[in-house]
Every structure is written in C-alpha cells, then in structure tokens.
C-alpha cells in the first residue's frame, strides 16, 4: 500500500526524523490560510506547493490543463512582494493544480487527478542525496541504499554509475549498526555536524522501516541544509500489505481515490484483480497460472482484459463477485475460466460460475477449463446447469477457443 508524501513526512516527523514544516490542503482556501503560519513558523519567506499523488516525477511533470505548470512549485513572492504576495501566488497556483490532471513519467499518459496539495517551508539546500531502506531479495534482508546522486532516478544511477551507490545490509536482530551508518556517512563524503546529523537520520529511518513494516522508504532527495542539518525534502513510503493487520493507523491512510474502483472492489472481496487493455476476461486460480493464462491468450493472438486470481480459498460468493467484476467491464468480449484445483476445489468454482451467470446473465462467450481437485463434480455441475459453456481440456486449448469466439 502506498501513501502520500505528506502522510509519509508525518510518520517520519513523529519518529524524530527531520522534515520541513508543512500543511496539506484540499481547497484553495486551506492552502492560502496555511501560508502565513508556515512563513512565521519557519522564518523563511519562501514556500513550496506540491501536488499529492501516488506517483513520482512530480517536479518535472506537467498538468494537462496547464502545460506550463509543474507538479512542484517554489513560491518566492514572499521575499519582496510585500504582505499578501505569497498568499496570492499560492492561491493562484492551488486553484490551477487542484482538480487538474498531473502527468509524470510514472503516471502514464492518462495522468492522475490532484485532489490535495502540500504547502511546505522553503529549505536552503547545500547538497542533495539519495537514501532508501528496502528489501534486497537476494539476501532476504532489508538494506540501506545511499548515493550522492540525489534528485536523479536511482535506476539510472544504478545502470550508469553503479559505483555511486552505497549499500548496507541490515541484520534483523541488530538493526543498522552505528559503524554501518558511519560507513555510509563517510562514503557520502560527510564529516562533522553533517555526518552526525546523517547518522541520526539513517538510524531513525531504519527503526521506522521496522516499526512500520514498510516495503520501501525512499528519500529522494535527502538534503543537507546550509545549516548542516540532514533533512527529508521528499518522502515516499510503501507498506507490506500482509502486515497491515498490525497497523490499523496506517491502513486508515489508504487514499481510495488513487486506486482503480474495480481493483478496489476486488480487493474488498479478497480477490487479486488488475485491469488491462484487452478484450478477453480471465478468471483463474493461482497467481502464476493467472499470469500464464494472460500470456497464453496473447501468444495465440488475443489480448487479456484483466489479471484475476481468485486465490486458493475462494468461496462461492467470491467467485460470483469475480465474475461480476469481469462482466461489468464493457471492453470484455469473452471470458476464459481456467482452474487447476489444489486448495481450490473445482466444484466450488463451478457452483460460483453457475450462480453468477444466473444472477448477472451472460452476453459473451464463456470457455471453461477445469482440472484438479473435485474436477468431476465441477464438470457435472456445469453440465447440469444447462449453461452455454464451451469446455476446454488444456490452457492452450481454452485460450485458442476463446480467441476464436471473440
């Protein structure tokens, strides 16, 4: 699960990690009202107005409605413009940002609607760095990744100048050790107050990652201020969905407006669903088989409309919901049900399909392939239902049949 920058910074601030002062706003009035307290609180007449969406690249991203406007804007009118100048500029920009669509390298061409902006104090920056805590799957541990190349795409740095990326493996029983934090500081060319500030920062970040069950904390850029303080200028956090049960406060931060409504409905029903661009709806058990079903549809000349894994323990109701989600997608011109039962029993799937078709009707061709636990019972249920179903005896056979029918 992802959260917004302002939420991530709130979680960091609560753990003693330095972040700029800031205030989120969902209306122009709220944004304008936040200006004065922020300038007075920070002592800096410069403020920054940032779009809050679940995607990076905002600084270089532009709005569809205002191609000259970026997702992050530095407002300097407060320096010389006299009283009210900063408020006026913030009001003008917030009005153009809120409700508009921001397109960045990470949103795709369709962009994302900005429902919230974050007003932040200006920071006097001496240097920009990169810092992240994330899982390294090859060692089955979290690592700290740091680089002097702040503000750049880290994938690009890794590819072009891998020697500029520093890593430290975190022992889960110990946490990031002092010497490891010190090695990172030295590797980043720090000394004195800056190094001390960094060491405190990175150790707190490691503790936050453990405490909050994050998949990823990425600070890009991490900045050193002209006052030698290390601070998170940006902040991205993603959480382990499987650990949210022990973090109800984090789960409550979910912004459903950032998610696809059909994917959200599927998630609530305990299904894994991802919308794609094709015409053939798929209902499959098991993530690997669901992916392979999409791949096979493509291989035989069709285009999958979705990924849908009903999982191992789905009941009749979940199967019905899954079927409803697929059939409610107007681009779906045919459905392929592909089940190889292990935990999932074929009779449960069959009963669910029959119930779903009776409930929502069926206007497109349906190909069903069943194999595995209780397959005879499943086939019998479908036969006796009298539904117009095309049976398939392998994944490839089913994919070919549905592609032909569509």
């Amino acid at each position: 699960m992802k959260i917004h920058e302002y939420q991530a910074k709130g979680l960091m601030a609560a753990r003693g990690i330095p972040v700029p002062l800031g205030q989120p706003a969902t209306t122009v009035e709220e944004a304008v009202a936040a200006v004065r307290p922020l300038i007075e609180g920070s002592g800096n007449p410069v403020v920054v107005l940032k779009a809050q969406i679940h995607a990076g690249g905002r600084g270089k991203g532009t709005f569809r409605e205002s191609p000259d406007l970026r997702g992050v804007n530095v407002i300097t009118e407060g320096i010389e413009g006299g009283p009210g100048a900063a408020e006026e500029k913030v009001g003008e920009l917030a009005a153009r940002m809120l409700g508009s669509t921001l397109v960045t390298v990470q949103t795709g061409p369709e962009g994302k609607v900005v429902n919230r902006v974050y007003l932040e104090q200006g920071i006097d920056i001496a240097s920009e760095l990169y810092l992240a805590v994330l899982l390294d799957r090859t060692v089955s541990r979290n690592i700290v990744m740091a680089s002097t190349e702040g503000g750049m795409e880290i994938e690009k740095v890794a590819e072009e100048t891998p020697e500029k990326i520093l890593r430290q493996e975190i022992d889960p029983a110990i946490g990031l050790a002092d010497f490891q934090a010190n090695e990172l500081a030295v590797g980043l060319g720090m000394d004195g107050d800056t190094a001390r500030s960094f060491i405190r920062f990175v150790k707190a970040l490691d503790r936050a990652a453990t405490e909050l069950d994050t998949d990823l904390i990425e600070i890009n850029p991490l900045v050193v201020t002209t006052g030698s303080l290390v601070m998170a200028l940006d902040g991205k956090m993603a959480f382990d969905d499987n650990a949210l049960f022990r973090h109800p406060d984090i789960a409550a931060m979910r912004d459903e407006s950032e998610e696809d409504p059909a994917e959200l409905a599927a998630k609530e029903a305990g299904l894994n669903y991802i919308k794609l661009d094709g015409t053939i709806g798929c209902l499959v058990n098991g993530a690997g088989l669901a992916m392979a079903t999409m791949d096979t549809i493509k291989h035989v000349g069709g285009e999958p409309a979705n990924f849908l894994d009903v999982g191992g323990g789905a009941d009749e109701e979940q199967v019905t919901t899954a079927f409803q989600i697929i059939t409610s997608d107007p681009t779906v011109k045919g459905i392929f049900v592909n089940i190889f039962g292990g935990i999932m029993r074929c009779d449960v799937i069959a009963t669910g399909i029959v119930a779903a078709v009776k409930k929502v009707g069926l206007t497109v061709p349906l190909v069903v392939r069943l194999e595995g636990t209780n397959v005879e019972k499943g086939e019998e249920i479908i036969r006796q239902s009298g539904l117009d179903v095309v049976a398939a005896d392998s994944l490839k056979d089913g994919a070919e049949k549905i592609v032909e029918l569509v």
Binding site: A173, M291, A292
Partner: protein, 307 residues
Amino acid sequence: MSILVGKDTRVLIQGMGKTGQFHTDKAIAYGTQMVAAVHPSRSGAIARFEGETDHSGVPGRDDTYSVDLPVFATVKQAVSETGANASVVYVPPPFAADAIMEAAAAGLDLVVAITEGVPVADMIKAKRYLADKPTRLVGPNCPGVITPGECKIGIMPGYIHERGRIGVVSRSGTLTYEAVYQLTLNGLGQTTAVGIGGDPVNGTNFVDMLRMFEDDAETEGVIMIGEIGGTAEEEAAEFVASEMSKPVAGFIAGTTAPPGKRMGHAGAIVSGGKGTAAAKIQAMRKAGIVMAETPTDMGEAMARALG
C-alpha cells in the same frame, strides 16, 4: 531415491483449521505418514481421519483408512512422542513465522509452510533464525512437496502425479500442477515436485533445489517454473550453466504483466525495470535451458531437453 520427502518422512501438522484438516485428510488418503498435530489449546485431543484411500498414492494399502492423530501443545512434545521429522504449516499469517521457528527449534529436518500472506519482516526474522540450524524451510505461500507414491505434504491434488524421472521446481502452485500433469500424461513422470512459493522471502530457492536434483540419482532432468519479480531465475540460470549436467526445461509467467503492479503473489512485481519476464527468459535460454512457449508446452519442452 527422492529428495526432501519419501516413505520414511513422518509429518506433523501445525495449524488444524478448516484448510489444514481438509488437506491432512487428503494427505492421509494419499498414504503420507501423518503422525501428529500441534494446537496450543487442544492438547490431549485425538483428531480422527477416515475415508476412502486415494490409490494414486502409496501402493499396497486397503481401500479405506482410519487414522487417529494425537494433538500436542508444542512441536517439541509432538516430536518426542511420535518421532516426527517434518512439519507442514497451515497456521494463519500473523503466527506462521513463529510456527516455522518452533518447528526448527524442535530439530525437524523439513518445514513446509503453505500459509499465504506472511509479513515480509516476519520471514526476514524467521530466515535469520533458521540460518544456523539444519532445518530446511520450503515456502511460505507454496503448494508443498510431493514424492509420488511415497509422501505428499501440502495442497496439491495427488492423482495428477506419477512417479518418474523429472524433478519439478516452481514459484507458482497451479503452474506446478500444470507441469506435473503434462509429465504424467507424456510418461516422463516426476521424482519430486516442489513449490518454493511466491513470496519475496522464502526458505528454499531455485539454486537449492537444482543442486538437490543434480545430486539425486533418480532425477534425469528438471523443469523450473519462474515468474516476474526478483532475480532468482537469473541466479538459477547461472547455476545451470556452470554446475548442472542434467537437462533443464523452463517457463516464465508474466510476459504480459504491466510494470509496477503486484500480480497476486507478493513477490511477483516488475519494479524499476527489474524482474521482467523477458530478462529471465533471456538468461535461461543463454544457460541452455529449453524454454516452453506456453505453459501447455512444458512437458514437451522437457522431452526435447532430454533429447
């Protein structure tokens, strides 16, 4: 010969919920030696399983079975009373990592964790706990391990298996079944089939399994089935190129998966351009692995690899 499990494997179950009971019954019907259950609040009880024998499993048994499983409060008690040497974990996600560590502390040779949805942080800790112990963990989020005709631990349907010549290792449960069934139909059969699970942190990886299959006299070839996310397949390809003498066939799921989306499995995600199906397929081809174009062609690809 077989690897991981065989006719001498004595299995205890941790997590006797609905799913655990259903699959314990199926395992007993198959002929697996289920010897004990562990449940903290049902200690002293007896769980009876009876029904019709699954004759696709261990040969030479009666048509019906009736087995009484004693329930113990701890894994250590179950081991000392019954001589169990393996465990299967169906414990719910919040408690699964602890169950795995308890099994390792009791000195079991093998722990097979079926549970899906274990927090990554819990698995990081459990894996560190297991690092200096002889216990091998398979999973979590996996279908289990089966040596056809000897022992079935997990949730795979027994009847699709046939004892034979091929080792199967996969990150996906249902794709394991696909491969197994094709090997049964084309007569190659399986020595042992292992689902290593779809999570980003798991106990046993492709390289571990390939090494065991390479050393197993009965195994003549291996099918490995991977998917998007991480670099385990690339590491396996390197191992195949440098250390394997036996032919290997393969398949990778997720060619059509959009980047940045988690495809059902916690570990199945292309992020920052890393972990793509294309990169894995390329690495595996380069290592001489015969790749199946679709999952329906996996058995055929294995036959080709054998020559």
